[in-house]
């Protein structure tokens, strides 16, 4: 099992369209979430190079960050070590999450960086190529009350006083392949002898905590 920001590669049409007026491209990827989601590992950078070359682009090379592009120092070091290539490039294509693309924008503001992927959710990978959502960063975690199972990201309606009337045989009304998370929460709390947690009414949630732009300044200790 792995845990990660889950991403999906954009369509080839979308990628070609955003790179339309650029010829010399540098690809970015990493061995963290990007590789685990099969969107920005070395293999996918090679596939992307073949694809773009087939459409008349010139791929100058890769910036591949071991660990993850979220390691700002590692990213900077890779960029510095490849400055010549960066300077020659017309644009950057980032095969990693939306934060990674914006990190490149901030580090190299003279040129444009484009997202090759859609960042989907925070989730798990029970097996390769399979990802399930686990957290939508709602800003106020309630896992301590639900036996460690998230109703916000895993209930199709984000209900706090679930389950809804569409929950049947353990499955969600939305589609036959998704479990009703409120059934899972019920089963788990029953085992833990903590059903009282969900017997009472849960008050309205402060959704302002879930909306961006969010910033946090931790006090130094």
């Amino acid at each position: 099992m792995s845990y990660m920001i889950v991403m999906d590669l954009k369509s080839s049409e979308d990628i070609l369209e955003m790179l339309d007026s650029f010829e010399k491209i540098v690809l970015f990827g990493d061995s963290g979430c990007a590789q685990m989601c099969d969107v920005g590992g070395i293999l996918q950078l090679e596939d992307m190079e073949d694809f773009l070359t087939g459409y008349g682009k010139k791929v100058l090379g890769y910036i591949f960050v071991e660990g993850g592009m979220c390691d700002a120092n590692a990213l900077k070091q890779e960029i510095d070590a490849n400055m010549e290539m960066i300077e020659e490039a017309d644009a950057f294509l980032i095969q990693a999450c939306g934060v990674a693309t914006q990190a490149v924008v901030e580090l190299l503001p003279e040129k444009e960086a484009f997202p090759a992927v859609d960042s989907k959710f925070l989730g798990v990978m029970p097996e390769r190529y399979h990802h399930d959502e686990r957290c939508s960063m709602c800003g106020e975690c309630v896992l301590h009350l639900t036996g460690g199972i998230c109703p916000i990201s895993r209930c199709a309606k984000g209900l706090l006083n679930g389950p809804c009337g569409g929950s049947m045989d353990g499955m969600c009304e939305r589609d036959p392949d998704t479990e009703c998370v409120w059934q899972l929460i019920y089963d788990r709390l029953k085992k833990l002898d903590k059903l009282d947690n969900i017997k009472r009414i849960w008050e309205m949630k402060d959704w302002s905590l879930a909306r961006g732009p969010r910033s946090i300044v931790h006090e130094e200790t």
């Binding site: 199709a156 309606k157 984000g158 209900l159 706090l160 006083n161 679930g162 389950p163 809804c164 009337g165 569409g166 929950s167 049947m168 045989d169 353990g170 009304e173 939305r174 589609d175 009703c180 409120w182 059934q183 019920y186 089963d187 969900i198 017997k199 009472r200 009414i201 849960w202 008050e203 309205m204 959704w207």
Partner: protein
């Protein structure tokens, strides 16, 4: 129709609707449902209301069922009043945040709408607008709590209201939903949040309802059993597949098929529909005997004409004054 009794301590007993007083008199209540127009023609609401109003004590207006946009439930409820009947306005938590809930609740009261029924709302992926951004700022229980809060004279911020509304609040439950224990607790939660009456999902096999009613015994709430007459085996199969929380037993589907077998055209149609009405009537007779059931809620789902038939056919007509 709406009598305001003043000077009662409990805020929520201030309002008297026909629905509420019939419950209190111990009548076996009949409510019906009118589907709002899929467009801007309000005359349809008036026509559909006239068709059923002598057979129902109050008329529900649904709220964008399955996320398919129809005329607003508040507007339709107003036309139900205009047509001389008492509305039950449905409000789903799917399409409104707390601001719009408050705003519409003020407006509904101003227009004379008193019975309000809260529901979670179907997932939009089941309807015609699956790309919609669903709201779910509140769930149905929190929305009930919000309505009751407004009856205390302040809004959620604690600011005093210019005119305090009063409602007779309702909610829903589905005896077929799992886990049953949790759904029984949710009835209690809804009652504590302000719900005084409940409408159930459409009932076919009555054994789950019977069991559920035992679970909520002592909760002191009024319960209307949901009835949807089946137009035919195709509709039944569609509902089993597409309508959340519905369970129509095979045996009923077979009865509908059998009723139409060997027949064609209009003859077949009327035989099959007749069987659908028969099933509805049998269900009503069965739920009448279940302790705690206070009436039925008949949902025509585009077949409003079925409501008078069913009500007459079960000896529930004429309706009490």
């Amino acid at each position: 129709m709406i009598v305001l009794l003043v000077n009662l301590e409990e805020n929520r007993t201030l309002v008297e609707t026909r629905l509420k007083s019939l419950f209190e008199r111990g009548e076996f209540v009949v409510t019906g449902e009118v589907g709002p127009p899929h467009g801007a023609n309000h005359q349809l609401v008036i026509e559909r209301t006239r068709l059923v109003k002598d057979y129902c004590d109050a008329i529900n207006i649904t709220d964008n069922v399955r996320g398919i946009p129809t005329m607003s439930s508040m507007t339709c409820s107003y036309y139900v009043l205009e047509a001389g009947a008492e509305p039950v306005m449905q409000m789903s938590a799917r399409d409104r945040n707390r601001i719009l809930f408050e705003s519409e609740l003020y407006g509904a009261y101003a227009m004379g709408i008193r019975n309000i029924l809260f529901m979670t709302g179907d997932h939009t992926l089941l309807g015609s607008h699956p790309q919609t951004k669903m709201v779910y700022d509140l769930d149905s229980i929190q929305a009930l709590g919000l309505a009751r809060h407004l009856m205390g004279g302040t809004d959620l911020a604690g600011d005093k209201l210019e005119g305090t509304p009063n409602y007779y609040l309702g909610a829903t439950f589905n005896p077929y939903a799992d886990p049953m224990e949790m759904h029984v607790w949710r009835v209690e939660k809804k009652r504590d949040a302000g719900a005084q009456f409940f409408q159930t999902q459409a009932i076919y096999d009555t054994s789950r309802l019977e069991e559920f009613m035992k679970g909520i015994r002592g909760y002191k709430v009024k319960v209307l059993t949901g009835i949807i007459p089946l137009k035919g085996p195709k509709m039944a199969a569609f509902m089993n597949r597409q309508i959340p929380g519905i369970k129509i037993p095979e045996e009923f589907i077979e009865r509908l098929e059998k009723a139409g077998s060997g027949l064609k055209g209009a003859e077949k149609r009327s035989a099959v529909r007749g069987e659908g009405l028969q099933i509805a009537k049998e269900t009503i007779e069965a739920v009448k005997k279940i302790p705690g059931v206070n009436g039925v809620h008949i949902m025509g789902v585009g077949w409003e004409e079925s409501i008078p038939e069913i009500v007459k056919g079960t000896g529930l007509h004429p309706r009490p004054k």
